[in-house]
């Protein structure tokens, strides 16, 4: 029983960290703090992956999201940031929160109403070596298309980011 209790505690700590830093990412006054909070939030999601027996995916998430995407985001934030930065609010914040609560209510009701939520996980988790087998047999077209998408992303991003001097 002891181990299960520990997993529950870890789950709730992770939930608090993830949600709080996700809110902080959007609401922090200083946008560099916001970017760091985003990285922390992504780390929290990786923690959920570990709890779901998807350690390989968690490591993938940390290496790609925290190690690469977050670094690129923080770098760009430092590049475009200025000392006195007044951020304009697009819509009235109250209206935004109202719309958001509506979305949350709808989706939450769907989750709570259906009986799918009470499922219990199977004892054995699938082995992570199956990922390689699956993406190279069943989903092999996705890999090829993904390589093209990634290539296009790099080329497009560089074409956008360079100064146009011919």
């Amino acid at each position: 029983m002891g181990a299960i209790d520990l997993a529950d505690i870890v789950f709730y700590i992770l939930a608090i960290i993830t949600l709080a830093s996700a809110i902080l990412a959007l609401e922090a006054k200083e946008i560099v703090y916001g970017a760091l909070a985003l990285a922390l939030s992504l780390l929290g999601v990786a923690g959920f992956f570990i709890l779901l027996d998807a350690t390989f995916l968690a490591m993938f998430q940390i290496t790609v999201y925290v190690g690469a995407i977050a670094v690129l985001i923080i770098f760009t934030v430092m590049l475009v940031r200025r000392e006195k930065w007044v951020e304009k609010e697009g819509v009235n914040r109250v209206a935004g929160i109202f719309v958001t609560l509506l979305v949350a209510l709808g989706m939450g009701l769907v989750v709570l109403q259906s009986n799918i939520g009470q499922r219990v996980a199977s004892k054995e988790a699938a082995s992570f070596t199956q990922i390689g087998v699956q993406i190279l047999s069943l989903y092999w077209p996705v890999i090829i298309i993904l390589s093209l998408v990634l290539s296009a992303a790099v080329i497009g991003a560089i074409a956008l980011a360079k100064l146009d001097r011919g």
Binding site: L36, F56, M59, F60, I62, V66, G67, A70, F128
Partner: protein, 392 residues
């Protein structure tokens, strides 16, 4: 705090030190009991009374062996923090003596009777009595966070490194990925430093360090992929056991060289130490750090990193703890790691510093291509039947 001018000043200082040590000890006791609950150390035999010890000394041995089997002992002492910190201190002293001998100097000489062996302790004591300066306009929270964060991250990586089949903290099936996930945090700490110092030298040095770490991370990851393919596992213990007949350096020499050079660049060691170039950038991204802040990064974290890369090189390419049977496997592991560490320290006395554009172009154009070519060579070797993946 004023200078010590009289005996009473001295007494006050000593009392303060004792008080601080008592507080730290209290924290330590609380943390230990917390860990005890966590790791179920209550299953241990209960602490025996001193009278038992006199009548039955062998009870002490059973107590000690019981203690050595706990996770807490592993984390704190042997393959864990104390061992690595000691290794790092010796490596630091060894580096200074080695460089001095190469440059016809004497190096550390006075601390300790023999050849300055107590120099690391003297350094730590000196740094403890230095003031921690935060530059004006700096972001105090992030600025103070970075030294702690650097030590924490580099400590996390030693958890999955096995010293022998028995002595490992976390027997993870994802050891290689854990190492690279942990290494992925270092660019963020560098970026935080660059931004939070509010000074131009750390900014320039930090961006250099960022680009350098990023450029050499991919070739580093891909050069270890060959070892993973040969052994068919991400578990570092399985990777070593797969080398029982031949070391992987025989089948992937180019991969080993790529790993070594990219390791040098990741550790910011000479000839790739330009993010913290003393003579041109005033220690680069560390320029604003003083006292123990500086000591934590350059004195502890850097040498833990040196240990990590030496140990990884040993595990991936030099057969880990495998060796003749007349000595324990731990000895072979530490011997090989020490040799690799010496190889890492040597270029500082020999090679001049590289240039940033040359460095980045080398990393992306040469080493990445070499690593990819190596993967194809490995495919050919496996398809030709020279190596059977997963063979132990």
């Amino acid at each position: 705090m004023t200078q010590i001018r009289s005996f009473s000043d001295f007494l006050i200082r000593v009392i303060k030190i004792v008080a601080v040590l008592a507080i730290i000890g209290g924290i330590f006791v609380v943390a230990t009991s917390f860990l005890q609950i966590m790791f179920g150390m209550s299953e241990l035999p209960l602490p025996i009374s001193p009278s038992d010890l006199i009548t039955n000394p062998s009870a002490l041995i059973s107590l000690l062996t019981g203690l050595m089997d706990t996770d807490f002992f592993r984390i704190s002492v042997f393959p864990g923090f104390t061992f690595v910190a000691l290794y790092g201190a010796i490596a630091g002293l060894w580096e200074r003596k080695l460089l001095a001998k190469m440059q016809m100097r004497v190096g550390p000489l006075y601390a300790g009777k023999v050849e300055g062996v107590l120099q690391p302790i003297a350094d730590v004591l000196k740094l403890l009595f230095k003031e921690l300066i935060t530059p004006k306009g700096a972001d105090r929270f992030l600025f103070g966070l970075v030294p702690v964060l650097t030590v924490v991250i580099s400590t996390a990586a030693i958890a999955v490194i096995p010293v022998s089949e028995h002595w490992v903290i976390a027997q993870s099936d994802f050891g290689v990925l854990v190492i690279f996930a942990v290494l992925g945090f270092f660019p963020i700490t560098v970026l935080i430093t660059a931004w939070s110092s509010n000074s131009k030298f750390p900014f320039i040095g930090g961006l250099r360090a960022l680009h350098q770490m990023v450029a050499y991370e991919i070739p580093l990851i891909l050069s270890t992929l060959v070892a993973v393919m040969y052994s068919g596992s991400l578990n570092l213990i399985n990777i070593v056991n797969a080398q029982s007949t031949y070391w992987f350096i025989l089948f992937a020499p180019v991969s080993a060289i790529v790993f070594f050079i990219c390791g040098l660049a990741e550790m910011e060691r000479s000839p790739y130490d330009l993010p913290e170039a003393e003579s041109e950038l005033a220690s680069g991204w560390l320029a604003e750090y003083s006292g123990m802040n500086f000591g934590l990064i350059l004195g502890i974290a850097v040498y833990i990193k040196v240990y990590i890369f030496s140990a990884l090189f040993t595990i991936f390419f030099l057969g880990g703890w495998l060796g003749p049977n007349f000595l324990p496997p731990e000895f072979w592991f530490i011997l090989k790691t020490a040799i690799v560490t010496t190889m890492i320290l040597l270029p500082r006395g020999v090679l001049p510093r590289s240039k940033i554009d040359v460095l980045l172009r080398q990393g992306w154009a040469r080493f990445l291509l070499l690593a990819i070519v190596n993967i194809f060579i490995a495919i050919v070797l496996i398809q030709a039947g020279v190596i059977v993946p997963g063979a132990v």
